[in-house]
């Protein structure tokens, strides 16, 4: 019977920054939970402070870390068509930032009044170039009463 004495043997081995598709490495994770059900329940209810983690993890592999050869799926080479469809950053393209960054930028560009209207109407802040206005003729009229 294991008892939580508060001073556990803790092993933490950090796994390298690996992409499974790139390195194709097999990892084995063994969880060893120390403590009885009562201790686990008390720890779950935060009666016992969890100073020392009770789960011991072992990372093991019998396959050495090996980089994928270039040209394969693990390390694909960029093609010209991808560059055409998604062109690299240039003077005409800004970096696509985070959502909060885009929101702040579009509020700054569109103005507070228009940004509030946009959030109310379209639930987003947008700022761009007006490329056209139609004549609003392609609509179904309201049914007559």
């Amino acid at each position: 019977m294991s008892h939580d004495c508060g001073l556990g043997f803790f092993v933490e081995l950090t796994w390298p920054e690996s992409d499974l598709a790139r390195h194709s490495t097999v990892g084995i994770i063994i969880h060893s939970v120390r403590g009885s059900l009562t201790t686990m329940a008390l720890r779950q209810l935060r009666v016992i402070p969890r100073a020392v983690p009770s789960a011991v993890r072992y990372y093991a592999s019998n396959v050495p870390v090996k980089a994928a050869p270039p040209g394969t799926m693990g390390d694909p080479e960029p093609t010209k068509s991808a560059d055409i469809i998604h062109p690299p950053l240039g003077p005409g393209y800004r970096s696509q930032g985070t959502s909060i960054g885009r929101t702040i930028r579009n509020i700054w560009k569109a103005g507070w009044r228009r940004a509030f209207w946009q959030i109310k109407e379209m639930n987003d802040t947008k700022a761009g170039t007006l490329i056209g206005v139609d004549k609003y003729t392609h609509r179904i009229p309201h049914p007559s009463p």
Partner: protein, 75 residues
């Protein structure tokens, strides 16, 4: 003297990620109908959007057929 050159940005059917604004006219009456906007620096598939004329009573079928290419990308 003006020369018209056929560049890649003049063929929006070829690549939808190219901007439309090179084809846009600048003197338009904004009070007519739905307004079409573009920002190529936005996230993918958020680059073009429509502001409908009547809020809360809009429908994507109100977009005129000439502007379907803006929503679908290839017309």
């Amino acid at each position: 003297m003006s020369t018209s050159t056929l560049t890649a940005s003049r063929i929006p059917l070829l690549n939808s990620s190219l901007p439309f604004s090179s084809l846009a006219a600048d003197n338009v009456d904004c009070s007519l109908g739905n307004k079409y906007y573009e920002d190529m620096g936005e996230l993918p598939l958020r680059e073009r959007w429509v502001e409908y004329k009547v809020p809360h009573e809009y429908d994507s079928t109100q977009i005129e057929p000439g502007w379907y290419i803006l929503q679908e990308g290839y017309g």
